[in-house]
Assembly symmetry: D4
Homo-oligomer: 253 residues x 8
């Protein structure tokens, strides 16, 4: 609660417009809905500008369904990430108005077509990084951003990247998604004048260490302007990029 | 080079205003100054919006001095980071107009007092994180940002953080700097609606692993909107934050 | 054996009440039951205050059944942890009076309803941590402790935690269970005046490293009063908490 | 703040005994003293039962002195850990009433001789672990606990441990401090019926990995009732043990 | 593009033989074929001497088929590595002229029987390393190299290696493939006067760490002349060896 | 070849009893049988005192069968380790005189009942370590050693170990097999006057790191006289112990 | 204590030859000398065949001197390892009859020239491994073993090893000491029929990881008969080898 | 020894031109010079084409001097790497004809100015990588290769690399030396048609892990044709490159 809000409560109490007990109750309004297995953060949009998002990987279909049903009552867009196809099917039998994306592994309920401003460029090094890229794209679009997809432009054939450079430079923020050694991040970082959010992926083998190698590589980039999120965290990158794009006010470059 | 620039050259050649050989020469203008031991990226401001910055840790005083002298000819602000006190003293005997900051370990040459827009909040968990924080603050101020410093508000005494929350929430972007377990990042991330850039520090001991523990912790934050830079990389966080703050146009919240 | 016990034996020998050979035999009474594949520590309750517990993960259903049958002869409560559902079903066909908990993955035989003193607070950061939490809860209750469950109060929505703070502060010892970055531990640790036992969980992905990240995070907490057990070790935390709660004599705060 | 305290404020406002603005001010009383480089948590004793402790490793002598001077005004015992001998000497020129312990590396200001209840057993595997043990002992004694020191009883000569077992078993809580492979922890854990707090030390070489080996070993102990703190963290273990010993009410076993 | 090529374009423009716009278009000819999910690097043979190779592990059968069909139009040999048997079967129903190797897990389309020069020796430590060795052999043969296979000559029975030494010394480059501790690499490296390319394999268990142990071992070899590729990367070793063998001009030693 | 053997050949050549070409051929007799996928080290018994052993994990049933058939011609005992039950079944259809052990996962062909001298004590910390222990026991018995099995005597109930100490002390060499934290090794090492071979096992979870924790623990044991083999390597420990036991000449202590 | 010894005490008590209290006292004779900072294991020779050895690295000169003085009263040979030159000098001023070895970094007090049986071969890969080798040699000689030194025979020039093979094969046990990748261990292991004790050393750089690379390499050796001790642990290897050599009864091969 | 050489000996014996004893002696000619602390591999040039090189890091000035003096008798070029300045000074007082390079940290004795063929391109990402690059350059030049140095062309300012591309493409083999994230390797690898040898350097901080990050990055490069040597191993890269360049016969591209 902001201090101005607390002051308002205190002034109402002083004016006897509200009893001390009721003021306490309202000040205690916790801002969440309590289920047996979850406490849904209904105050989140007010606090951080974005609704709570369901991380589907560790939850059962029944738990996801229950949380969706509780969230529907607050009329906000719903996004569940990392939902496997069979789990999604089980949820959809209960909540058929959700939409499942088989590449991004997301379940989405759009309240209204959001106005999209922008834009956010999503760049991948390879074909195998597309799942992560689409998780980012679905998230960014749901949160009201124009998205430009530029896939499979890794540095082994760097002419592919250069041919798309004008397209990338148009964005307010660039998400670079790469497995292997993640070198694409540094090359892009050296060529643009906006923030780059790097997403290492688990695409690789052997000493790739399930994505630790590109993660470390991205954290040690010789190019400035790069920050990094967890391995395969397309959602997190898009959430961050959306914040930046909205700060930029959707201005077209 | 942008494609429109290449087209311009080609059109000038077609109109015989410039010979093919001269066009090649100009197209080849590499955008860097060549020293024996370094190639200074003089085109960087045009390309990325920021001048090249000297990473002082691996260079001798003579090398730093040489690069500073080459950069001075392009009339842009100069920033050298990670310059130890004795190395700085040696540089200053040659280039006395530089200014050394003993906490931030930076050498700075400001061309003109930059207009500062903002703002960027820099938040640290402890007293020992201040060196990294000041590297970030010096960088951000040189690049034209208003900076709010909020130091030593780690979660072990969380009332310290809450008392500064209104101050933090005023910023366009928040830099959170923490050693130990880095928990401050997640708490701040859950309370603001702007991007958070997390900087793990090497402050700690034992299983802290010289900063790997808060680095991993920050990458796995349960709060969204957080991206991470390398351990102790105050400069990188500030560079990134400056980009975001300028995209936001310095609007006051 | 305590030295006073040895002295007793020696005195009985001196008084010729027992032969040297018999004394040796009794002093050698090893305090365990020997099966082909196990030596059951039947003296454990006397020595440490708690019966031996069966760690089910590495044992076959036949081995678990055999150990249960041997332990039943000593009339003490029986607890088997980490028993998968199909393995439990096989054990139950032989020993149907055991009770299987599908969330905690425990098999329990209560000798008598234990008097429960308390209390122990079990706090989780997310919904996905509940399996580990229930392993702790079942263990703590079997060992005679009142348990308060406070689930899904991670720091991304910190108002959820604060609304439950009075409840948490009532306990003699708090178990905090968290995956991701484990930041909840430090926040709770800074707000209570009793020992906190931290349990990292394997809930997470990528650089989470199957729980090593919250483990390291908890070990490096900036809050004092926190000690840590192995990843997912709900049983160990509850065992420890029970010892502390009983030392406190079940006093109500 | 407790909810009952908030209610009190609200009731005073309702009764016009205090203005809304003053109520806000008092509710905002942040509970810390603000220095340029630190925010001292003066509310900590009320909140967690223990005063804030100064971690000396990352701070200058001037910073330690400044914090000590600020804390002195609240008349509570002062403890600074990890203070190197030369840094301590510098602090003592300013604050000569502090007492420096050359083995424990602590600076202490006792307000009054605390009543010591107990007891806490501190057990080390080797001679080289004594520095860590004394950090724990100094901490525990300052916080009002009787301490029994049992040093150099590692399992390579297990008769040394058994000869001290009656002494160890008298304690309400046992701190086991060991480097090398840390096996002493499991052996002690299997022989006592009170909580064991394990402290791995950095004593070892090669694959000892500066203490990671005994840390991992202790976390995976086959004995129950063991929880672990960071490598060399004697202070943390003593803080935790003190909480448990005081919950036990200093009862003599 | 080489600078001489750019000059040619510029000269043609100067001579009005080509319009500036067309010159730009040709200079922009990006050298790749764009599919929805991939950008095939068709210029690769010109640039690096070798066609692009399909890494099959992260791609669906449909994606592999699509890329094969696009590459067929450029009339170059096609190689797909890491194709599982069932995925290969699905591709073969669409593109039956490909040939699948069940040991090497490769799909190959040879345009014409290549002239093989040589030679490259492929040496393995054990029987279990043969899958990796055959991936290397198939690659090397497709790229026009004579291959000598010398399998199961690990150092535990070093007479097996010595009996084949004359055979190994005949090659222009030696690929050594080994799991376990990879000691064969150093022994071979000390006995030949040509480059050795070392391939660690994931054959082993326990502290073998899925191949990290031989990888580290090979990187620290006491013999000079050894360079290393990723774990199980038979393709990469053969690609490299082929380059060296062709530089040597296929001369017979 | 020993130098005396080479001299013999040279003398026979000098005496014209053998032609130089035939001498070379015999000196080149490589001491192995060559299959397509393996080179069987038939000289191994002469060189190291033990026949080659088949490591079954990375080989197909067909390969194991082929190697067994080749080895049978040299009339030596055959041992294959790490053979899964289904693979063993396939081998047994071809070579039914082999004997499969379902706990040890070994296939054995004994040429003649070996004289067993001894003895070797095999000690495990828990029930779950028995698979590894039986791999060791089967190996040791095949190689002609008396084996004493002492299972499930981990230090959490140390009286179990002490009751078996006389039995353990009778051996010429002790194999200690333990998962979890491996503390049993140090305790045994401190109590016996013969070499201890430690085998860490993969029994554990979380920060156990699949056996790295007891491996590191054993390497850093505070007791002397301990050496370590790879995780789960029961065969290697027994091979080593057999060498030592035979050096001791089977003397009974 | 052995059970036969306990029985003796009991029988003496039964015969009234000793009072129960005195019997307890004697049975409690702990077998160690207690200093302030150490408990010296004086029963160790009886229990394990070897006197306690002082690990000098973590102890002050005063502590080493004190322990030496206490041990001298038991008239057994004294060995202190890892004693730096300056620390040794300080000890020698107090205890001048000790002998310091500047290569092995050992302090030794020989009671009587021990009969040396043998033999133990100590083999190093390089010149830089000699410090560790001499620690092993000094230890082995003090404990009564003939030692053969074979230094700098690493596999990069394998003819050096083969020329010494007859010498190595004469030993009852071989200690192989190697840094870098440790490949020498496997080659030696495949050529001898006695136990090989491998000592990885910290000689190397970069991905050598201070000795972890040869440690892992040795643990995963393809040759059987190898066991491993900690990095740089020459003492431990010699201790172990001495046990084996003495079991072999010093028989000459 | 080659088999043809053995046959020659045997034939001489058969013809009585040499006695069996003398033949054995000559066949045993071990090909090394034996010092107290080293066995110098004098046969190395014959066997591998290159003389033995002295790795100076782990050796004393006296040992280096001794080895140099022994090698001088075989009239081959002498190279010692990793020789610190003070150690070099001590060697030079004894062997003043050696030449010390203060950047490369090498001591060199050239027998005769070697004919240089080539060429080898040595490319670094930054100024701080130059020490490693010069170790490579000195080595390559001593071994008879033309070297082209291209320093400080990291991908953060990729126009610097492109401007030097024609120069790089002229080489027979390219050595890429980079710290930070090592991305330069992949970019170069995608642009050339000759082997690339990658050298990670220890230039970086934090999660750079002293060079492990670029090492892992290079091993996982998305570009083919890259092989990797140990961190900072400029010598090893040059040795390897020299082999390849000489195989190419010094042909000019």
């Amino acid at each position: 609660m902001k201090q101005s809000e607390i002051l308002q409560f205190l002034q109402q109490v002083a004016k006897q417009k509200i009893s001390p007990e009721n003021a306490l109750l309202k000040m205690q309004d916790n801002g969440f809905t309590e289920l047996e297995y979850a406490k849904i953060d209904t105050e989140r949009t007010a606090r951080t500008g974005y609704p709570e998002v369901i991380y589907g990987a560790g939850k059962s279909a029944a738990q996801i369904t229950g949380i969706v049903q509780a969230m529907k009552q607050h009329e906000q867009p719903i996004l569940a990430t990392r939902v496997a196809a069979d789990k999604a099917a089980a949820v959809l039998t209960q909540e058929p108005q959700l939409k499942y994306d088989e590449v991004a592994h997301t379940l989405v309920l759009s309240v209204a077509p959001p106005e999209r401003i922008g834009e956010i460029a999503i760049v991948t090094a390879g074909t195998s990084d597309i799942n992560v890229a689409e998780e980012a794209a679905v998230t960014a679009e749901l949160f009201g951003n124009e998205v430009t997809r530029i896939y499979d432009v890794g540095v082994a054939g760097i002419q592919r990247l250069f041919s798309k450079l004008d397209l990338i430079r148009r964005a307010n923020v660039v998400i670079v998604i790469a497995g292997m050694e993640g070198a694409l991040t540094s090359v892009v970082g050296g060529l643009v004048d906006v923030p780059v959010i790097a997403v290492p992926t688990s695409v690789g083998y052997g000493s790739h260490l399930n994505g630790l190698t590109p993660l470390l590589s991205m954290l040690n980039s010789c190019a400035a302007g790069i920050s990094v999120v967890n391995i395969d965290n397309g959602f997190g990158a898009a959430y961050n990029a959306s914040m930046i794009n909205h700060l930029a006010g959707g201005k077209q470059k």
